[in-house]
Symmetry: C2
Subunit: 193 residues, 2 copies
DNA sequence: TAGTCGTTGGCACCTTGTGACATCATCTCC
DNA sequence: GGAGATGATGTCACAAGGTGCCAACGACTA
């Protein structure tokens, strides 16, 4: 038997998501989250660096998955290709967690501070992808641009995925966005006959 | 004769940049900035929504310039083209302010909170560019992707521009990044003979 | 001279976030 | 089985960011 109720971190996360969803991020104090989880403010800050971070714990796993997929993608002709393969792997991981993703994203969309944090998380993800590309021999500038562009595609597709009107799976939306991107950046490439 | 020293906003901005540069963002309190400007903390928060915003005032002008340039760019074959023209206009505007840009960027680079704010500013800029593209008949998804990609190119080029080792003008770096991007996203496009 | 208006100051207050120390249940070792 | 050791939690005090409210002040107008 545990000394305290188990899974303090999970309780704080669930309480935070619930309260942020009910009354909004600004209208929720850390003390309230802690109380709802049967803990104190001080303990909250031992698990999370700040009030926002409680919504972003777990993004490291996604990063590891994506970086690994970039590293193990088949040989490629263009740096964006392995990134595309990695995004597909990420989509497979996220698809079963759609309900959670939707609730979380609704909270983030309602608050600029949370959007800032979200952007930073994606930026560090892009940096990690760029590094993985360099390890596969891609030049510095091309690696950064392919990584950042890939993450942009991911973000746009993700936003469409969590949209209530959407019916498609995430991997499909990613493919669509990738296709649209290529058309928006360069003219159609004639297929070698 | 003025009742108070004129240009309270400018004094606060200069004091903030100086203090952030000297001792760092975290080690500078708002009260110190206000005192250095001959004002009080309360007045600081009347001009700036928060401690970070003092470094980002003025980005609206850049946004207006870029949006206008997207709107007035010549007819295009691919959505990224008018964005590229707009970035060139932005480079022309920024080139004379390089010293200020360098000092400001050094402060931002040293602090994650400021990087968050910077990313959000660029994100709203990208949204404005996407809207300008839509007004020129570009489809929704292509507009977003072209805008986000263009802003990414701009950010990468800007970072290289303010690098102490750099010698090139901003517009040149933007051209380079654009070229590299096209190569990183699609295979080389044969020119129609 | 009285009234109005915009800028600033003063003050109380709430919240985030941190440092230092106390508590308390379990585990280990003797 | 009892004495620490350990690790998670609580308690308290406090700095700093940020806001609401009202007073003070100087100029301009009637």
């Amino acid at each position: 038997m545990a000394r305290w109720e188990p899974d303090a971190l999970g309780r704080l996360q669930r309480a935070a998501l619930a309260l942020y969803g009910e009354r909004g991020f600004d209208q929720t104090t850390v003390a309230e989250i802690a109380e709802a989880a049967g803990l104190t403010k001080r303990t909250f800050f031992r698990y999370f660096a700040d009030k926002r971070e409680v919504l972003f714990r777990g993004s490291e796993e996604l990063e590891e998955l994506i970086v690994a997929a970039v590293g193990s993608a088949p040989p490629f002709t263009v740096p964006l290709d392995p990134v595309a393969a990695a995004l597909d792997a990420a989509a497979t991981m996220l698809e079963p967690r759609k309900e959670f993703s939707v609730r979380r994203q609704r909270v983030i969309a309602a608050n600029p501070e949370l959007q800032e944090r979200e952007r930073i998380k994606l930026a560090t993800l892009a940096a990690a992808v760029a590094q993985a590309l360099r390890l596969r021999g891609v030049g510095d500038l091309a690696a950064i641009l392919a990584a950042e562009t890939g993450i942009t595609v991911f973000r746009v597709a993700f936003e469409r995925w969590v949209d209530p009107a959407n019916e498609h799976p995430l991997d499909r939306l990613i493919q669509d966005s990738l296709h649209e991107l290529r058309g928006a950046v360069t003219a159609a490439v004639p297929v070698a006959s």
